[in-house]
């Protein structure tokens, strides 16, 4: 793919929940392009609709209006059966809560083995386990230590790293990372963010990073989309958005992040 061509794009993307009096427009006619090998952050507070966009891009939720295009093809073409699998081979996700992302009744090995149903070639159990080991090493988790453990026996940081190991296994083209650091200790965040950067650099992955924290968005991304009440109110180069924001909401989001060298209250 060409570096500057859009891999994932939205046109008039809208999602409405409920109807009548209880109608909520979670995402309201949003347009954007995410380019090949780019890390884009979607920043907004809770309830802004950012997670809903993530779910629609992951083909887990249908848009009410508008369309999503993946390498020029309408996502509707991937709605069912084999095509849906095809899509999930190329577009994958990591969620906020690494604990509830696992089936807690299965060991880590068994949780990760299920990922292989996305792959075409048949593999023996040994081949699968070897690949699982490899991917766990890539995220700095000791395979011998965790493979036979259950999710509740691991720390939050380890769980999220294992979720990223899953991504190294699948090697999708696009990763939708929905608040992957928000339930993790501050000391471990940079490690997770650096793994995202590694996925982009080593695997040529395009990443949409969803967060409420402008600091994290600035740390990891090339471009930032600012979302407020279902709309993207400002988008641009990360540097530009953080240091020269033009929309008042962007300014508020930035000033809400506590920094060390400036008064905040």
């Amino acid at each position: 793919m060409q570096p500057n061509s859009a891999i994932l794009s939205a046109e008039g993307l809208t999602r409405i929940f409920g109807s009548g009096k209880k109608k909520v427009v979670a995402v309201d006619h949003v347009d954007f392009d995410i380019k090949f090998k780019e890390i884009v952050s979607l920043v907004g507070q809770s309830g802004s609709g950012k997670t809903t966009i993530g779910r629609m891009l992951l083909n887990l939720l249908k848009p009410s209006e508008g369309k999503i295009k993946f390498i020029g093809r309408n996502i509707k073409e991937f709605a069912k059966g084999k095509a849906r699998l095809e899509y999930w081979k190329k577009v994958q996700g990591v969620f906020q809560d690494p604990f509830s992302s696992f089936n807690q009744f299965f060991s880590i090995k068994r949780n990760l083995r299920r990922t292989f149903r996305l792959m075409e070639q048949k593999m023996s159990a040994e081949q699968k386990d070897a690949l699982i080991k490899q991917s766990l090493e890539l995220v700095n988790v000791d395979p011998d230590d965790v493979m036979d453990k259950f999710p509740f026996e691991l720390s939050g940081g380890q769980r999220q790293r294992i979720m990223l190991a899953r991504i190294f296994l699948i090697k999708p083209k696009v990763l939708i990372a929905d608040e992957p650091t928000s339930m993790i200790d501050a000391t471990l965040r940079s490690g997770i963010l650096r793994l995202l950067m590694k996925l982009r650099d080593a695997e040529e992955m395009t990443i949409l990073f969803i967060t409420h924290d402008m600091g994290l968005a600035y740390y990891v991304s090339d471009r930032i989309f600012v979302m407020h009440e279902g709309k993207i109110v400002e988008e641009g180069d990360a540097e530009e958005i953080v240091f020269h924001p033009s929309h008042p909401y962007t300014k508020k989001l930035i000033s809400d992040v506590p920094v060390l060298n400036k008064e905040w209250l």
Binding site: Q45, S46, G47, S155, G156, M183, D185, A186, T187, L188, R189, S190, G191, L193, R194, M197, H212, D213, M214, G215, L216, A217, Y218, Y219, V220, A238, E239, V242, F243, K252, L253, I254, D256, V257, P258, V259, L260, N261, E263, W264, L265
Partner: protein, 335 residues
Amino acid sequence: MKVKKLVAEVENLKAYYKVKGRILKAVDGVSLGLRDGEVLGIAGESGCGKSTLAMSLSGLFLPPLKYYGGKIKLKDIEISKMDRKLLRKNVLGKKISFIPQSAMNALNPTLKIRNFVIDVLKEHEPELSEEEIIDRVEERFDSLSLSKRVINSYPFELSGGMKQRVITVISTLMNPEILLADEPTSALDVSSQHQIIKLIKTLLERRIVKSVVFITHELPLLRHIADRIAIMYAGQIVERGTTSQIIFSPLHPYTKMLMSSIITPEKGMKGKELPVVSGSPPNLYEIVAGCRFAERCPYVTEECKINEIKFHKIGDREVRCLHPLTERNGINAAK
């Protein structure tokens, strides 16, 4: 500056969990003083014992947590060995209010906020009528510029940030002297965090609460709300000092590590290589001899691994470290 009087004093507090016959030393000899009018921040990674410390400070040791020693003094009353019923009746809510980490998700979804408040207050002051309670709540909500409409809502109708503010206001209705808040902001987005912090500041300024213990893993928040900070590691406090001392010139290598992992939207942060700290906090079932941070410390020497490290006084500061980062910070150790 005159040192303010203490509202609470904790001496060598030990609170352990008994799990399957093994003992997990979550709070292992913690001493602190809480002064009138201050916010004391307690920071550390998950599993360091800070949540257990918060719970223990309320004097309520619920199984599997057990009290193993030490004192918790509120002015002249000792609450660590107090009968649980008496504690609930006379201390909790009135003198100390504890907001656990998951409080906002523990709200009963079938009860309106007003019924929840009535339940809570009736438990402490059964003689109050429902009207009196609601009047009091409305007045308090008004004075803190929270919408009164919230009182007649169900929890699911409120955002996470609003729920957390509501819980904070309700927990302080009886004007407790001490507010213990365990990670009140960690599940919230930055904008809601900002509002909670402002709310807590207002509660202090109006003397609705006299002092606050604020537990978090987010040091940047403490920079703005805390007067003093205690850093906790593996069940112990490893460094304490004023906020600016801890944030801008940490003495303990662990504090420094916490500080350097902070990510903010400031120049120079983009993609910056931050120190990746190898290893993980020690197992609190079997505590090793010597410094508990030794295994992960870049400045470790053989000496560190022999004896338990005591607090060293450096000027007006205290740190559990044989090789504090004094020279690097330009602090004169001899002072």
